[in-house]
Structure formats: C-alpha cells, structure tokens
C-alpha cells in the first residue's frame, strides 16, 4: 500500500546553513510515528516542509500518493492533512464552539451560502457533539481567552481532527503543560481514530514513546534511524543523540 505521507530526498538550506540534507521519510496508513532529536536536529523544519509552510530546495513531498511539493498549506489541508501548532494558535476573539464551527465549515464547499449567516449552515449541533466527544462540552460557550493553557491545547487537537484528516501532524502537543494536563492530552491522542496516521514531534521522550508505534531519530538535519518504539537499538540511538557518545555501531544497525 502506498504511504499516506512521503517525503523523498528533502534538502533545505536557510540563510546559507544546511538545515536538512537528503532526508526521506514515509508514514503508512494508521501509523503513529514520533520524531525525536535534540534542539537543532531539524524536526521543526521537516515539519514545516511536510505541512507546506516551507518549500524545500530539493526533494518532493507526496500526500496520499499525490505530489504536493508545490502546494500551499490550505491546499494540503483540504487534501487530508491536519496539524497542531507548538504555540497555541486559536481564534482568540471567538468562543470554543465558534472555533469548532469554523473548523467544520472548512470542509464544506466554498461557494455555497458564503454570504448567508454561518448559523444557517447547521454546524452548531455537530460542533457540540464533537466538543462533547472530546470532553470540552461544558466549555462550549467560553471565549477562547478564558480557557486554561491545557484546555487550549485540547481545543487545538479538536480543531485539527474536525476535518477528519488522513494524517495529523502534532507539533509538541505537551509543550508547557503540567503532568496532569500532559496525561490528558496523551489520552486524547490515544483516542484518535486508529486509521488516522499521526506524526508527532515531542521533546518529552516518555510521551513520544508511549504514543507511537515507530520512532524516527534525527540529529543535525538528517535521520539517524527509524525503528519500533520498543527496539533496544532505537533506545540506544535516542540516548546517543541526546546525551552524545559513540554510537556509530547502533547507527549502522538501525539505519534504513
């Protein structure tokens, strides 16, 4: 079966510095992949290339078998790509429900009813249902600025899944959260539909390993190895890139 998301031979140079060099990655349907690596490894840059924020100088990106290298963010989103942001990024002047209604309306045809009231699109009920399902039902009418940081991250996740994406990219969903809030976000991610592929960047290694089937280890702009989350060779590699040391041997074992 063809991969849901595939990046081939990606190279990115920013301001004369090589950030990514000849990097390739494949995400299968339903796969949960964590991308780990120290600061400066190029995780965020790769994320930006995958989502369309950044266009690579070399290489191609394919989404559900289609070449999307030159597509912008919104076009990729319409083709089945969802994402969350590292810094919460919500429509702050609106209520929780209005945020979700906008997320749901995004997948409706554009021309229909564009100048009729949003309320006439009948999206408030699906929005309520979605919020109930994700445990934010009682915060429905709260303005976004009144939400706690943890709740905002949860809402981010709800917005990202509203369009039922084929692949969901999560950019450090637990950054800045308390242990309780982190546990809650983990629970939500685990509850995502199994057929949704997930790519997760996470600094919290325990969380990354707990949520994923496979782990890709990055350092210095390239992939050091990919393997199962419980593979000892991967654990050794993770240890190596974070703590340093000589791990060329492990490299060779898991490369490819």
């Amino acid at each position: 079966m063809r991969p849901v998301l595939e990046a081939t031979d990606i190279s990115v140079k920013l301001g004369g510095v090589q950030i990514l060099s000849h990097l390739s990655i494949q995400i299968e349907r339903g796969e949960r992949r964590a991308i780990v690596g120290p600061n400066g490894a190029g995780k965020t840059t790769m994320f930006n290339v995958l989502t369309g924020v950044l266009r690579p100088q070399e290489g191609r990106v394919a989404l559900l078998g289609r070449d999307v290298t030159r597509w912008d963010v919104s076009r990729r989103a319409n083709c089945g790509m969802g994402r969350t942001f590292q810094i919460t990024n919500l429509m702050h002047s609106m209520t929780v429900e209005e945020n979700v209604v906008l997320a749901l309306a995004a997948s409706l045809p554009v021309r229909r009813d564009l100048f009729r009231p949003l309320a006439s699109r009948g999206l408030d009920r699906p929005a309520s249902e979605l919020l109930d399902r994700w445990g934010l039902g009682d915060r429905r009418h709260a303005p976004v600025h009144a939400l706690s940081y943890g709740e905002r991250r949860e809402l981010e996740l709800v917005l990202a899944v509203a369009g039922e994406p084929a692949v969901l990219l999560l950019d450090e969903p637990a950054a800045g959260l308390s242990p309780t809030e982190t546990a809650r976000v983990c629970e939500l991610v685990e509850r995502l539909p199994r057929e949704t592929s997930i790519v997760l960047i996470e600094h919290d290694l325990d969380m990354a390993l707990a949520l994923s089937d496979t782990v890709t280890v990055m350092s210095e702009g390239s992939i050091r190895g990919t393997g199962s989350a419980d593979d000892p060779a991967i654990s050794a590699l993770v240890e190596d890139v974070y703590i340093g040391g000589t791990a060329e041997q492990e490299d060779a074992d898991v490369a490819g």
Partner: protein
C-alpha cells in the same frame, strides 16, 4: 456570534429609525444644513466601507481614498467626456472601476502584513493622486473636472439636484452600505475573515485559502467606497485630486477607530467628524488645530475600550453568550 440573523428585531427597528431620521432631516433642515448633512452621510459611507476591512479583516488599509476618489472621477469623466447623465449607470461604473482597482492592489498588497501593507496602500493612493494630477486630458489635472451636471434619477422623476433629493439618495446609499457590512459581518464569509484576522496560520491549516478571503474583503470594501465617492462628485458637481488625497484615507481610518466596537459606530463617527469639521471651520481659522487636539483626546480616551466598559456596566450580559439554538 452564531446568532440567527433572520429579519431580526434589531434590523427592523434600525431601519425604521433610519427612515424616520432621513424624513426628519430632509423636511426639517435649512438648505445649508441639508448640504452639510449630505456631505456627512457620504463621509460616513466612506468610514463604513473601510470598517469592513479594518474591523473584520484586520487590514488597516490607507488606500480607501484611492477607491473613493476613483469613484468620483469615474462619474465625473462619464458626465463630462461622455455626456452620460444617468445616476445608476454612474454608480455602476464607479463601483466597477474601483472594484477592478481594488483587485489589482489587493493582489499586490495582501502578500504583505502590518506596516508594509500600510506603506503599499499609502503609496498606491499617492500614485493614483499623481495620475489624477498629471493626466490632464482625462482628469483636468490640478483644476479637476468642473461642470458635472446633476444626473437623472430615472426611472424616478427629476434630477439629483435639489438639496432634498441629494440628501435622500446619499442617506439611502449609506443605509445600503451599512446593510452590506452587516450582511458580511453575519455571514460565513465574515466569520472566516475574523478567524483569519485572529490566526491566519490556523485558518490556513484548516484549509481556508486565506489570501482569497482577504482579497474578497478588499474588493468589497473598494466597491463600497466608490459609491459615496461618486455621490460626493455629483453633490459638488466637481471632482479634484483633493478627493484622492491620502488625508482622506486617514480621515476614514479615524472614523473607524473612533467608532470601533459596534457595527454602526464608524457611520456615526463619520457623521460626527464631518459636522465637527464644518462647525469649526465656520467659527475659527485655526479649525485644523482644534480638530487635531480633539482627535488626540478621542484617541486617548480609546472609544472601543470605553464602549466595552459602558456595556459591561449597563447592559445585562446575555446568558451563555449568544449562540444559536
């Protein structure tokens, strides 16, 4: 914000009040004050057209004078060079020309944000102003176009000539502009605009073509500005580069800032600004100085904040926001 906006009680009451106000002013004012009222409602129309862009799309454009003035020149040229004197045809042409201009400027300027967006829109206004000054054969240069005859308002009887008719048509155009802005605000389109204003990257990640939405708002706003621009030219029977001056853009922005926070605020502020200007001009030679001081005080008071504070104090909060059921 997801209110059901059917005919709506507020809309009916608002329209009724506007109708009463138009009749009262039309029948109860001297010729002089009626002419000031006509200028005021046209100015308010300009403010409302910009409020669509600033309030809902978060785009503090400085190009509004360009669309306003282009609307004026469009009907001026149509009347003087083509001898065409139908009001509706004039308004249609004004709207179309400004709309095309807004499309072109939008395509260029909406790639930028913040101060860069303002510099581009300001430069564009200066460019159009320069064009009006230099292209003498078409625009009359510095002298402008004079002798623009009052247009016919066919199929209605007569011409846009008596102060009463001029005021009535101008006031109706303002009401129409307010209705369009209201419709945009309540529509799915308007909600998407606000979403983009709040977080463009999130809206793009949800699949919205954010630049297309901004461009749509920019064109609607340009078209709306052309209507009062054309009516001003018909009122004065004259159009000159002054109508394209960037100061007009700033004045429009001022109306929006003073009236921010409510739908009709910019219209009320627009009427107030024009009347204030008129009254000061009659009483002192230093009216610009006085006006400047008043504007500074108003800006310091921060009307949106004041309006919000008053609302919190005096208006009982609606239960559970105002969601649709």
């Amino acid at each position: 914000m997801l209110r059901r906006h059917g005919p709506g009680r507020a809309l009916v009451i608002g329209l009724a009040l506007a109708g009463v106000a138009v009749v009262l002013i039309r029948n109860g004012s001297s010729t002089y004050s009626l002419s000031v009222w006509s200028l005021a409602v046209v100015g308010a129309g300009l403010g409302m057209s910009l409020s669509l862009l600033v309030t809902y799309a978060g785009l503090p454009s400085l190009a509004q004078a360009a669309f306003y003035g282009t609307g004026g020149y469009a009907v001026g040229i149509l009347a003087v060079k083509q001898g065409q004197d139908n009001l509706w045809l004039g308004l249609l042409l004004a709207a179309a020309v400004s709309g095309v201009l807004a499309l072109v400027l939008g395509l260029v300027s909406l790639r930028t944000r913040g101060i860069y967006f303002q510099i581009i829109t300001l430069s564009f206004t200066a460019m159009i102003w320069g064009l009006a000054v230099k292209w003498r054969e078409l625009t009359g240069g510095d002298d402008g176009l004079v002798g623009i005859l009052s247009p016919s308002i066919a199929p209605f009887k007569g011409y846009l000539v008596t102060p009463q008719t001029v005021f009535t048509v101008s006031a109706l155009s303002l009401i129409l502009i307010c209705l369009v802005v209201r419709m945009v605000r309540n529509s799915a389109f308007g909600h998407v605009l606000v979403g983009i204003r709040d977080s463009e990257s999130r809206m793009a990640a949800l699949g919205y073509r954010t630049t297309a939405y901004r461009l749509g708002a920019f064109v609607i706003s340009g078209v709306l500005a052309a209507i009062p621009g054309a009516l001003l030219t018909y009122q004065l029977q004259f159009v000159s580069p002054a109508q394209l001056n960037f100061v007009v853009s700033i004045q429009a922005l001022l109306m929006v800032v003073i009236g921010a926070g409510t739908l009709l605020g910019p219209a009320v502020a627009g009427i107030g600004v024009i009347w204030l200007q008129e009254i000061l001009q009659r009483h002192t030679d230093h009216w610009l100085l006085v006006l400047g001081v008043i504007y500074i005080i108003v800006a310091m008071v921060n009307p949106p904040m004041l309006a919000q504070r008053l609302r919190q104090r005096w208006v009982v909060r609606e239960p559970a926001m105002e969601s649709a059921r």
